[in-house]
């Protein structure tokens, strides 16, 4: 078979940094990461682009780095998407079974899915994903409806939508550099792709990706995406809280946050302290670590409670959900798993990047961009399968046409 190697790029524009990975997909099955480029982000606030020029320069820097490190350019580009403008809703399509013997045929399934997917949006909104959530036959959940007997078939879809202009801004930045975006993937789905196995999805799993500006989450129930959302709270809010509470500037608050994370490895934090300005100048004074701990805990506790409330009744600890995974840059915050554990009333772990990924990329902030690559790989597989089917069909049709 002819080798079908493709060089693809995965771009994640975050609030604090832009990450680009370049990888080679061989024969639609093997993924080989060739290089990584990173750049600090300017012009992005809580996932939304507020300064096109500044963001454009940062994206250019990251892409330039990755292409130089890999020594090649990508042919296809996949991009993650997040922000407060992302919305999700369910829609159902209900059809009566058409055949006289009430056996469901392909046409019935097609009508049900089309009905579930046809819903007019506001003119400023666009669909990002249509995620099949399952079928019901006469009110009962079924996995594969084809060939079953019943009267009414229901298809349920989770639709993810975005603000058209905000998405267009992100795409146009790349268009200006003469790159075309091949697909857009919701950040939370990309992170889930990296960190959760198929079995964990079936058993129920919650992935929370805490970035600098926003937090994405995705809930898997019975192997399907049950809920996903974006909360405009992230690591920057912790820094901001520290700044306000201790009356220091943001830069110093970020330094104190990092110093606290280093100290937090010690068990005895009772009498430990950090210097407010760090330069022992006039007015510099020690701050009890416990006080910092309380400020951070308050913000994270609030964040996890918001997520818990949004999940509602679908989240039942150790019943519907058996695993909670934290990822994203802010998941490195010391003590975060304990705070989450208290809120969700079950064990919480930090996301582990799979072993096939290079050691340098096995950090929580790369889970989204790695997920984009996995999504692209899955997309390529489907693409190859459909192309193979098409080519087989072509051969068959040629055989028939030649026999005429």
């Amino acid at each position: 078979m002819k080798n079908q190697n493709k060089i693809i790029g995965a771009l994640d524009i975050g609030t604090s940094k832009i990450i680009v990975l370049i990888a080679e997909i061989s024969n639609g099955t093997d993924l080989n990461i060739l290089g990584m480029g990173e750049a600090s982000t300017h012009g992005v606030n809580k996932g939304d682009i507020v300064d096109m020029e500044a963001t454009s320069n940062c994206v250019y820097a990251a892409i330039n780095t990755v292409e130089k490190s890999a020594g090649t350019s990508f042919e296809k580009l996949y991009m993650s998407l997040t922000g407060g403008h992302i919305r999700g809703f369910y829609n159902k399509g209900i059809v009566g079974v058409s055949s006289p013997d009430n056996i469901i045929v392909e046409e019935d399934v097609k009508r049900a899915t089309e009905s579930a997917r046809v819903k007019e949006l506001r003119p400023d909104r666009v669909y990002i994903h249509h995620i099949l959530n399952g079928y019901k036959l006469d009110g009962k959940n079924i996995e594969f409806p084809l060939g079953k007997e019943g009267e009414q078939l229901e298809a349920s879809y989770l639709h993810i939508t975005s603000d058209e202009k905000k998405l267009a801004d992100q795409i146009h930045i790349l268009n200006w550099m003469h790159y075309t975006v091949d697909d857009v993937i919701l950040s939370s789905l990309a992170s889930g792709c990296t960190l959760v196995t198929e079995l964990e999805k079936i058993n129920g799993s919650l992935v929370i990706d805490i970035g600098a500006g926003i937090t994405d989450y995705v809930l898997y129930l019975n192997g399907k995406i049950a809920k996903t959302g974006v909360i405009k709270v992230g690591g920057n809010h912790i820094t901001s809280d520290l700044g306000m509470a201790l009356r220091i500037n943001t830069q110093r608050a970020e330094e104190i946050k990092c110093q606290y994370n280093k100290l937090a490895d010690d068990e005895n934090l009772e009498n430990r302290h950090l210097w407010l300005y760090g330069d022992r100048s006039i007015g510099d004074r020690p701050v009890q670590v416990n006080a910092i701990d309380q400020i951070i805990e308050a913000r994270l506790d609030e964040l996890f409670n918001i997520i818990k409330n949004e999940l509602g009744t679908s989240f039942k600890p150790n019943e519907t959900v058996t695993k909670i995974t934290l990822t994203g840059g802010t998941s490195r915050q010391a003590g975060i798993t304990n705070i989450a554990k208290n809120v969700f009333e079950m064990d919480v772990s930090l996301g582990e990047i799979p072993n096939w990924v290079q050691k340098e990329l096995r950090h929580p902030e790369y889970s989204t961009v790695l997920g984009i690559l996995l999504f692209a790989l899955k997309y390529q597989k489907n693409d190859i399968v459909s192309k193979k089917k098409k080519s087989r069909f072509k051969i068959l049709s040629r055989l028939f046409s030649s026999s005429k």
Binding site: R117, V126, Y127, I173, W176, H178, V181
Partner: protein
Amino acid sequence: MNRKPNFDLSNENSWRRIEQKGFSHSISESVRILKIKKRLKQGSIISLIIITLIGIGWSANYIKNNHQYFNIIKFPQPVRHISYRTTGVLSREWLDTQVDFSQYEDMMEINLVQIKSKLEKLDQIKSVSIKRNFPDEIQVYINELEPIMRYVYKNNNNVKELYLISMDGQVYKGHNYSKDILNKLPFIKGVDIILDGNNNANIDELNSITELLLITKKRFPRLYDSWNVISYNDFKLNIISDNSVIVIKGDIINETLFMPYNFDLQLNNLANVIQFSINNNTPKINRIDLTLNDRVNVKFD
């Protein structure tokens, strides 16, 4: 049906309705630089293509107008010219009888090593160098032996055959030598040269005489030309023996006797005697004995 891709977007409300295209205006400095780089790259590629096309066109036109200079050699190429260069006297006609190049239809077919070996087996030829000069010429360089003596050999049937002896003692039958050349060569007598199958003689026996002849030919060419016979009758292989004498008979001096060594000294003495004879207008020298070391015995007519 569940196995169908979940992320299917065929709806007109899909994000794919957002138009993706390169924009004419640049929003930031980096994008501007990128655009300039891309345009330069595109420009250089286009220029390269144009230059290549112009080059091809010009070359085609040049070849069309100057096709006589572009003879493309197609193999097989027959041998059209054979040139011989020799240091001696061998003629083209004689050489053509030895090597037949016409049997080869193709330049590349010719086995140069074989021909070289064949020519070098000929007794008059010392060494041969052959090379192909494409498209159709074979060049043969021949280094011949240079004769300094003649030798008459009686074969088994008592028939006399003339042989020549080269500077390095090779005995061979000469070809293409003119009478003028041959007449200038002295005969050697009193030596039984036993020829092997390749006409090679015992070189050791001839070493001393060839040395004498070479020095004489170089220092006194007229005297050398006047020498007719070199006699080995009183020559013994043991050159240290006082009795070994080389007798040379010639036109200017009837008989000259040499010791088989110290030729320079003897020739100096000979030169002094001749000079004395000319200066004093003496009668013709009949015999001169140079074998007495510091003395010379001269007999006038």
